[in-house]
Symmetry: C2
């Protein structure tokens, strides 16, 4: 089946001005894919770039007269925004017209609406935000990155199952799964982590044990599990230091390489380095645990970054991750019986 | 008064082979400073470098026949290791012979022994690990970095006071203090953070509000406060990604700059960049909240890194941070009355 993505064209800090051109660029790059753009038809149409003319059979626009605001309370959005671009995009996935929903909108509202429209998989209590982060030897699947700021041990166990399935779907056999912890000798973590470790040791997951923050990027394990508060701080901290290092590189090179020869030689290398550590490449986090594929883009995503989120949606929809998670979670529940 | 540091010469992964030469190098660089080296006298003496000959009036060795192991339970160390290099170094501070203790040993044991020997300041429940981290516009004081993996709101408030005092002692007037939180729209943090925010808003601290992980390195505020679990993960994650970026730089430059000219031009710049992002420069975290100055070095510190920890001890002992914290915490307690 040729994949179709439902794209919330109104979300994020920049709205259709960024999201629509990014979507058309995505269609150019992926000749098998189609998209459904949801949102204000006039706004969407006015931002269609010239190359969209040749692609008219691969995109459709579903007009919606509502938008979920970035700071709107999720419960309000749920009640009052039934014809919003976000809600209608999710409805298209539910109806089977699209295999994934991609939105750069309000995270809390997206989670609440996705739970309501698509429903959770049996045995999964809460959705988790997951991303593949770069590591020294490939990539690391990390979750939860901010959906759940307070967790119980069983939630971490469910995250471990979901992360393991996602890593396996991307080609890793029997992926190693670890709990993120702190390294201080006295206090090996808190009750949450210790209790989750107890349960994971007895599960069929390939449980590695504890890892520390540095292990995320050192690629010590395939999957790193933590609660959403810790995960979100780790992710944002990473973005912050990467940006600072980019600035340091710029400063030091602009100081030294007044010499034109050296500057010319170094520029392409610096650009490649910046591209490799550019967090836009890793834009597009999945909401796992739902009966459908939902990808959350950074609200501040530019055209390049949103393009990566669309690619993530395309890739994940082809991997049938929700179905696989459903099977694994059921198997885990049966182990406990 | 000329400052004297008590140096636990046996701690860390490398012991006296690294710590003793680093200490002698520190004395060469700081002609006003003296040190007391605690540990196995033969081991210390055998690692004294040639230049120590001219410095014999500025160091002394206190022989101790015990060592706290890196994985030893703090309670065991407390009970059984009264003549350990760590304990005796703390005793020298308590006795007033030294103004700071520096150790690369077991963090949990150092904390427990420091609490027992030096005692907490009145009004402070727990010590916190604090460090000045580099930021885009200077540096950020961050705590707790791993001493307390489970905190109550009043602990975060105490950390805020201590961080504020430390920033003020380093020359910042009325430093801004923020709580580390997550940016998701729905869940602005957990109960811990929300309750601490409530208390800080009513205090005399220059409270900024919430910041996210990226703000640590963007220098949004002077002091970032969090519990020790979150802080430790953020710190270690930063080290991990910085190391990965260094590797990316090495790979990309070694690929491109086969051309000798460009490689020669870029090498000093790359070395400066690596030096600026080298986490060894930020080695030496303070244990705040005690009636004395204690500096914890990374266990894996090499000679360069341990040198920075010694410098941190020298600097902090000159700033009378414990006395200043004591005054501020008392003032805060009186506000509440």
């Amino acid at each position: 089946m040729k994949p179709t993505l439902a794209v919330d064209a109104m979300g994020g800090d920049h709205g259709p001005a960024i999201l629509v051109p990014a979507t058309i660029e995505f269609l150019v790059k992926n000749p098998d894919a189609s998209v459904i753009l949801t949102g204000d038809e006039d706004a969407i149409t006015s931002h269609l770039p010239a190359e969209s003319k040749q692609l008219q059979d691969r995109y459709s626009i579903v007009h919606c007269d509502q938008v979920v605001e970035m700071d709107e309370a999720p419960t309000r959005a749920m009640r009052n925004k039934k014809n919003s671009s976000m809600r209608v995009a999710l409805d298209r996935v539910k109806a089977g017209d699209a295999q994934a929903c991609i939105s750069a909108g309000n995270t809390g509202a997206l989670m609440a609406m996705a739970r309501f429209v698509l429903k959770m998989l049996p045995g999964v209590d809460r959705p988790a935000i997951v991303q593949e982060l770069p590591s020294m030897n490939g990539s690391t699947v990390m979750l939860d990155l901010g959906a759940n700021s307070e967790c119980r041990p069983e939630h971490l166990v469910q995250f471990a199952v979901m992360g393991s399935v996602l890593a396996e779907a991307s080609g890793i056999k029997s992926p190693t799964v670890a709990l993120l912890n702190i390294g201080s000798e006295e206090v090996k973590g808190n009750d949450l982590v210790r209790q989750a470790a107890e349960e994971l040791r007895q599960s069929s997951i390939n449980y590695y044990g504890y890892v520390e923050g540095n292990d995320i990027y050192e690629g010590t394990v395939d999957v790193v599990v933590c609660d959403g508060f810790v995960g979100n701080v780790a992710l944002k901290t990473s973005e912050g230091i990467a940006r600072m290092i980019s600035q340091v590189m710029r400063e030091e090179f602009s100081q030294e390489l007044g010499s034109k020869v050296a500057a010319l030689a170094a520029t392409p290398v610096l650009n490649r380095i910046r591209a490799r550590i550019d967090h836009r490449r890793y834009n597009g986090a999945s909401l796992l645990g739902l009966r459908g594929t939902v990808i959350k883009s950074h609200g501040s995503a530019d055209q390049v970054a949103f393009g990566y989120a669309l690619q993530a949606g395309l890739q994940e929809s082809s991997r049938h991750v929700p179905e696989l998670i459903g099977e694994q979670v059921l198997a885990l529940l049966q182990e406990h019986d």
